[in-house]
């Protein structure tokens, strides 16, 4: 017994019945969703008895130079099947995507991580902060053009620009 991977065509067929107009295009290895319908489609996939995708396994983003993609691996524990869903983010300057934390609580930290490293803002996320890097870090390090971004690590430069000396923290007294 091993986990069944839903093929993209099978998935598209299933989802178009469940939530119409939620699929933008279907490719060989994944099915691309429309960002506006993302949360609705995910909610339906989670709650429908036939799909039962209750477990968000993996959420990550990827940079294809001209666009971002956010990849969701969702699985059903009882049916032992897994599917790969993608969403495209075309606006590089201001990438925005609806958050799926309302569907799966487990998306919380993974979306934070994607925001931290790619700068993709997830709308309606309860607390979207940088988790691995500090607030105010210049640039989004996992973008392919990170080195050419303002504040990125320039070739030949040994220090990050923008790491100014921090003020000494004040002494707090125990309340």
């Amino acid at each position: 017994m091993s986990t069944r991977w839903w093929s993209s065509t099978e998935f598209a067929e299933f989802l178009s019945k469940l939530v119409p107009d939620s699929i933008s295009r279907v490719e060989e290895n994944a099915c691309y969703l429309v960002p506006e319908k993302l949360v609705e489609a995910m909610m339906a996939l989670r709650d429908d008895a036939d799909s039962n995708f209750v477990h968000l396994t993996n959420l990550c983003a990827a940079d294809y130079w001209d666009k971002f993609e956010v990849i969701y691996h969702i699985q059903s524990l009882e049916k032992n099947c897994i599917a790969s869903v993608k969403v495209e983010v075309l606006d590089r300057e201001n990438p925005v995507l609806p958050s799926v934390t309302s569907v799966w609580h487990g998306a919380w930290l993974q979306e934070c991580e994607a925001y931290d490293l790619y700068g993709i803002r997830f709308e309606n996320h309860p607390n979207l902060t940088r988790i691995l890097l500090w607030e105010g870090y210049p640039g989004w390090p996992l973008r392919k053009d990170f080195l050419t971004m303002p504040g990125g690590l320039q070739p030949g430069l040994n220090e990050f620009a923008g790491t100014a000396a921090k003020p000494e923290p004040p002494v707090h007294t125990v309340e």
């Binding site: 017994m1 209750v54 993996n58 990550c60 990827a62 032992n80 790969s84 487990g106 993974q110 309340e175």
Partner: protein, 369 residues
């Protein structure tokens, strides 16, 4: 009246330098008396941007990186990464290589759970004794790793298409001598801790995660199984020949810290069973297939996952046909298991929060990568 008679809440930092955060991990808790009213974790102290670095190196060069994410289970990390690359490149591993990988992964699980169970016992206040007892056996497992791969902690033993070297002579004997000792230590742990009245009082009904919460929060591994959800990648999606071995999935009753601890102990027993079976019919033949050093898998993507000691460890690779991955993503079980940190700690006392944190069994290297 109750507005007047109240204590003053204050913010307390647990970590980044604290004996119980198992590394540089920090939780900012707001405390009212002894009760926690808010908890916020602060991570990133150990961030080494491995995902970015990996985009500049070849597939084989990336294997040592995986050692250093979850530094308590390097073999499992190697295995997960190699499986992902093999899936991407459509490679197959010879039977002997698969069996050796299973033995190593299970020994690594034993070593990691030794650390996890011991550190958890330390968090409950059993002053170092269980840690030392479990670490004694962990050292012996690390001796076997050293004998096989030359390194104790960051083994770098798996390769794409198999394992790096053939097993040394005397390996099988060493492992067979070790297993009864491990059984004994697990039995000691069962008696000293799991059946200890104080331990039960401390860990039972603490940091309860309901199965619905656990599934919704994407928990995996002992955290998920402790909540009573039967989910183990080794059973559900067998890799590296796990379907050949006879073992069972331990699941807990209530999803509290005690269940997670006992699940870990039981998983150690099951791992011993698997290692014994794998040793009994260790196939002959080559240990690895020939893979060019600058391996160029075809363009595409692959998501491979294994059951690491901490949960589902996934590697998501995108290849553009070049010698290095276009995107290298690790699904870190330690980080995602911390999704429920707030649910576990808010409302509990500081002492229970430490227990909750200990029962997650985090490795900061994997959280921050």
């Amino acid at each position: 009246m109750s507005e007047i008679v109240k204590t003053e809440p204050f913010v307390m930092n647990i970590g980044p330098q604290h004996p119980s955060t198992h590394g540089v991990f920090r939780v900012k808790v707001t405390v009212d008396g002894e009760q926690i009213t808010d908890a916020e974790m602060v991570i990133g102290y150990l961030h080494r941007s491995m995902e970015k670095l990996a985009e500049e190196r070849t597939y084989t060069q990336n294997i040592p990186f995986t050692d250093r994410t979850d530094y308590l289970s390097s073999m499992s990390n190697n295995l997960g990464y190699c499986l992902a690359v093999e899936k991407l490149g459509g490679l197959s591993v010879p039977a002997r290589g698969q069996a050796i990988r299973v033995i190593m992964a299970e020994l690594q699980r034993l070593a990691s759970h030794c650390m996890g169970a011991g550190a958890f016992a330390n968090d409950t206040g059993a002053w170092q004794t269980p840690v030392m007892w479990f670490n004694r056996e962990r050292e012996r497992i690390l001796d076997i790793f050293e004998m096989t791969s030359g390194a104790r902690l960051t083994c770098n033993y798996m390769r794409i298409g198999g394992v790096a070297f053939e097993l040394r002579s005397g390996f099988e004997e060493a492992v067979r001598n070790l297993l009864p000792r491990l059984q004994q230590t697990i039995a000691d742990g069962q008696e000293l801790l799991a059946e200890n009245e104080i331990f039960i009082a401390r860990a039972r009904d603490v940091a309860v995660v309901s199965p619905e919460t656990a599934i919704g929060a994407s928990l995996t591994g002992p955290m998920l199984r402790g909540s009573g959800v039967a989910w183990d990648i080794r059973k559900a999606d067998p890799y590296s020949g796990y379907e050949k071995y006879d073992f069972q999935i331990p699941i807990g009753y209530k999803g509290d810290a005690y269940d997670r601890f006992t699940v870990r102990l039981e998983e150690m027993r099951q791992s011993i069973k698997i290692v014994e079976q794998a040793l009994d019919d260790l196939p002959g033949g080559p240990h690895s297939t020939e893979v060019p050093l600058a391996f160029r898998p075809p363009a595409g993507e692959a998501y491979a996952r294994i059951e690491s000691p901490r949960g589902e460890l996934g590697y998501y690779l995108i290849s553009d046909g070049g010698p290095s991955p276009f995107r290298f993503h690790i699904r870190p079980p330690s980080l995602i298991n911390l999704s429920v940190l707030k649910e576990m700690t808010v409302g509990a006392s500081v002492a229970d929060a430490i227990i909750a944190l200990g029962s997650v069994d985090i490795v900061v290297g994997e959280i921050d990568r």
